[in-house]
């Protein structure tokens, strides 16, 4: 395919100046402006590598699931040659959807309007009246379901982009995105579980992304969860924070330990002596040489939350969450759940307990998050309130990026808003660039020195 699926018009919305990296001041109209939102669908979701599924979710030929790229419905399906295809769910005849189920197994996708029928790779196989009504005057090879421009996977995680000019997936992920995914594989192979928790919030998708890096809100937003003992306050580690920033807006933010603490942990592990620390639960998963090699010396010490830009949060609970835009004021959260192959029954039970009780609409953490994000979105709607700046200055110009000889780098500090600033800065880069070559040439490089 040679032409971009998403044609961006030149006269696009100018969002330069919406975020000032020097001060951390953000224009809150980016959460409610309809024009900006429409531009995001084209310039961000239309261009990015979007997470579509894990290979274990559709293991057999004909297995499919529905997903979205921006607001466009896609079918993710495994074909008879075992390839995973990503197809726009829209019949080229009248635009009807050809798949209405969220998941399942099928031999083909049959349009319920007039009966055009598509193979698992999207090829148009046939339609009623090809001889009699079309008089064999239609070239079926031109009228298949439109596939994503590219589909690639990193260690079983499948991503798709609608833009043929997008760089290869691994180049897009960079070391930060790859380490984020490697976090999930630190203990070995994983398989996704049946069931995605899905619900709809009245918030802008970026507020839900911003929050995944936010370790400042925990004590207040989740005060009740801490008090009832389901959330461990010490493990929030407000004074042991590590932030890792990657190209194109990827990042990892949250608890981490210093090289010295890592050495102390290793010594304790070797000797069997010494007091347990808050980070043991994380560190004990990363003791094998293979894991340390995979994560690298900095990645091994980070226990934070990765985000694959734009909207894939990798949580510490054997879950990943997509924040799917549904209009400027609405976002769908999709919690995908997985387990490590070979987990003991007790480990599986504990994992499912966390998956079912922390996040999702009934989760004791996320109930309160949704309320806050929705009201933050509401706060960007008022005629006067939307003109007022938002403050994202925490820790600005107060920290240093340290460069490891391995090439990995990070900021080791206290609770901060570095990763949120990086997200909005990168968002602005994506919105300013007219196409992938421009974005590749002009995007912000992860900072060095003082941040």
């Amino acid at each position: 395919m040679s032409d971009a699926l998403i044609a961006t018009d030149k006269a696009s919305v100018d969002v330069s100046g919406c975020f000032d990296m020097a001060t951390g001041i953000l224009d809150r109209r980016i959460f409610t402006d309809e024009e900006i939102y429409q531009e995001e669908l084209k310039k961000i979701f239309g261009r990015a590598w979007n997470f579509v599924c894990h290979e274990s979710q559709i293991p057999n030929p004909g297995d499919f699931m529905m997903n979205y790229i921006g607001e466009d419905e896609i079918i993710v399906v495994r074909d008879r040659q075992q390839s995973i295809n990503v197809l726009l769910n829209s019949c080229p005849h009248r635009g009807n959807t050809v798949c209405r189920a969220e998941l399942g197994n099928t031999k083909s996708f049959f349009c319920s309007y007039h009966g055009w029928n598509y193979d698992l790779d999207g090829r148009l196989i046939g339609m009623p009246g090809e001889d009699d009504f079309y008089r064999n005057n239609i070239d079926k090879k031109d009228w298949g379901l439109t596939p994503a421009a590219k589909v690639e996977n990193y260690r079983g995680f499948y991503f798709a982009t609608l833009d043929p000019e997008a760089p290869p997936l691994e180049e897009y992920l960079g070391w930060v995105g790859k380490v984020g995914i490697d976090f999930m594989l630190a203990e070995g192979d994983i398989e996704f579980l049946d069931g995605i928790h899905k619900n709809r919030l009245q918030c802008n998708w970026k507020l839900a992304v911003d929050n995944l890096y936010d370790w400042y809100h925990v004590k207040v937003s989740h005060g009740s969860a801490i008090k009832i003992g389901i959330l461990d306050d010490a493990a929030m580690a407000p004074d042991n924070q590590m932030v890792i920033l990657g190209e194109y807006g990827h990042g990892i933010g949250g608890p981490g330990i210093s090289e010295e603490e890592q050495a102390r942990y290793d010594a304790r592990l070797a000797s069997g002596e010494g007091e347990p620390q808050w980070y043991d639960r994380h560190a004990e998963r990363r003791t094998s040489p293979e894991t340390r090699e995979m994560l690298g010396p900095v990645g091994t010490r980070s226990f934070g939350h990765p985000n694959i830009f734009p909207n894939l949060w990798i949580a510490q609970t054997n879950q990943v969450c997509l924040r799917i835009p549904r209009g400027p004021y609405e976002t769908e959260l999709w919690w995908f759940n997985f387990r490590r192959k070979g987990m003991s029954e007790d480990e599986q039970k504990f994992s499912a307990y966390m998956q079912n009780h922390m996040f999702g609409p009934a989760g004791v953490l996320e109930q309160d998050d949704g309320e806050n994000w929705s009201h933050s979105t509401r706060g960007a709607k008022g005629t006067f309130s939307k003109t007022l700046p938002l403050n994202l200055s925490m820790g600005n110009k107060a920290d240093q990026v340290s460069q490891d000889p391995s090439g990995q780098s990070c900021i080791e500090t206290v609770i901060n808003e570095h990763a949120q600033r990086w997200t909005y800065q990168s968002w602005q880069d994506w919105m300013a660039a007219e196409n992938w070559p421009e974005l590749m040439a002009n995007h912000s490089q992860p900072p060095t020195g003082e941040v």
């Binding site: 209405r100 189920a101 969220e102 998941l103 399942g104 197994n105 099928t106 579980l193 049946d194 069931g195 995605i196 928790h197 899905k198 619900n199 709809r200 919030l201 009245q202 918030c203 207040v220 937003s221 989740h222 005060g223 009740s224 969860a225 008090k227 009832i228 003992g229 389901i230 769908e332 759940n337 499912a352 307990y353 998956q355 079912n356 009780h357 999702g360 609409p361 009934a362 004791v364 996320e366 109930q367 309160d368 949704g370 309320e371 806050n372 929705s374």
Partner: protein, 177 residues
């Protein structure tokens, strides 16, 4: 067929009346925010479960709900339900502060079976909620409950909930069903 079908009309009416009285009273406790009293109606071994639901092809409708033991919206024992209630009382449970206003309508009550001291009761529910000045949600579904006779009356020892939504259209499920 269960023994229930072998009972006389009068016996069935009495049993159904007892079950309805329990269900209406229990709903009223939740609507009235008398959560601690509601907790007292739960058996210690209660299983409170709401599986995930998906849109499937008609030929694969057996995939509609996630399986027991798998991913779920609620998969609670008494400890978790108690935590949910405690959370409301100790502050900073923002999804319920200010508190929601709720009203539960329970209908189509049918007794499925009786087994010694336990009754299995099916019912339909509508839970209507408003929050703040303009937020409105409603959930409709069916329940399969098991009620156990104890000294102080019935205790709820199993509640399986099947909601008529796939994507949950509310921003949370902070109410109990």
């Amino acid at each position: 067929m269960s023994a229930y079908q072998d009972l006389s009309l009068q016996e069935r009416m009495l049993l159904k009346f007892e079950a309805e009285e329990f269900l209406y009273n229990e709903a009223d406790l939740l609507d009235s925010r008398r959560f601690d009293e509601w907790l007292n109606l739960l058996a210690d071994d209660i299983h409170y479960w709401m599986p995930l639901r998906r849109t499937t092809q008609a030929k694969e409708v057996e995939k509609e709900f996630t399986a027991p033991g798998g991913m779920a919206l609620f998969d609670d024992d008494k400890t978790i339900l108690t935590m949910r209630i405690q959370r409301l009382a100790i502050g900073r449970a923002w999804a319920e502060d200010p508190p929601s206003r709720t009203r539960r309508l329970i209908s189509n009550v049918r007794i499925d079976s009786i087994d010694e001291d336990e009754l299995t009761v099916r019912s339909n529910f509508k839970l209507y909620r408003t929050r703040l000045n303009s937020e409105e949600d409603s959930w409709i579904g069916r329940r399969e409950d098991t009620l156990r006779r104890s000294e102080g009356g019935f205790l709820l020892c199993r509640r399986h909930l099947f909601l008529e939504q796939t994507v949950i259209l509310s921003q949370n499920l902070s109410s109990l069903f």
